[in-house]
Assembly symmetry: C2
Homo-oligomer: 151 residues x 2
DNA sequence: GTTATTTTTTTGTTAAAACATATAACATTT
DNA sequence: AAATGTTATATGTTTTAACAAAAAAATAAC
């Protein structure tokens, strides 16, 4: 569906505006779908993202700075995000012995189990959208987004 | 910059995942830039969006339902969004005489003035990104996003 | 070796989002 | 016209985000 119809626009929009609205709207659709997947597991999208980063560490701990720089949206509330995961026993948190300012965050087995259970659903979610495109179109969309941001 | 570099990914990502991350990240970049424009005017992106919808009504009032269906992200808090605009005298709110359940929201002259002042900055913002693309590429990005959502 | 500076994380406060529930007006049924 | 149902908006409560500022540890300066 065209973006003008999604927002019931009465007037014609120029292409710059349409792209912006389309990116914003597409993100909403992706997020809404993804939250439906996460809901039964009682974790938020941001919390999931942190778990993914920690799993990607393959056993070595991540401090707050490392977590932040790998997140999509740099939030200043990484501490409280990790707090939530800690309450659910999905991560552990320890002071780093070499530099006692730093905090070593590790994913627990329970955290890994949650991710493993989610993996096929996440892949299905990702492919649900990209299956609408040929592989050339998918590559094209990806590189056009990067060119659009131009940084 | 490639999305893998933006999030400092150590492993190769498949295209489905890259597109998702790219859409989410691009949206963050757009929103961050836009918020910088709005900041001096002390209105949020959502509030701006409502003002745009109201201006688009060209003098005829919009009720809460109309506002909601034209917003990008359907929020259940339209009432409180309008509350904020009312406090700043950017809109008026009146009970509809024909159907006293409905609320007629109108943009004020002050609201129109704010939008007029913002207009050139908003256009500049929109074009800042799309200028990185040729007009064919822009059209292509737009239609690929719509095809990707496929609804 | 004490003081200042910088880095890293945490905390406090205020604002906004999310979600469920409530109220109020209108419409329909009996 | 009372009861029931529906629609439109509002409110209460709980989470989450945003921003500033504080705290704690390491590093640098004197």
């Amino acid at each position: 569906m065209k973006i003008e119809d999604e927002i019931k626009s009465t007037i014609a929009l120029d292409i710059s505006k349409k792209i912006i609205l389309n990116v914003l709207y597409t993100q909403n659709v992706i997020i809404d779908n993804f939250n439906d997947i996460l809901k039964p597991y009682d974790i938020s999208g941001e919390q999931y993202n942190v778990l993914r980063i920690l799993r990607g560490q393959k056993g070595s701990p991540a401090n707050m700075f490392v977590i932040q720089e790998r997140m999509l949206a740099r939030t200043s509330n990484t501490t409280r995000l990790v707090d939530k995961l800690l309450l659910k026993n999905l991560v552990t948190r320890n002071v780093c012995p070499e530099n006692r300012r730093k905090i070593e965050v590790l994913i627990t087995q329970k955290g890994l189990d949650v991710l493993n259970e989610l993996d096929p659903k996440v892949i299905e979610h990702e492919e649900f959208f990209s299956n609408n495109l040929s592989s050339q179109e998918a590559e094209q969309l990806n590189s056009l987004l990067e060119k659009y941001r131009n940084k």
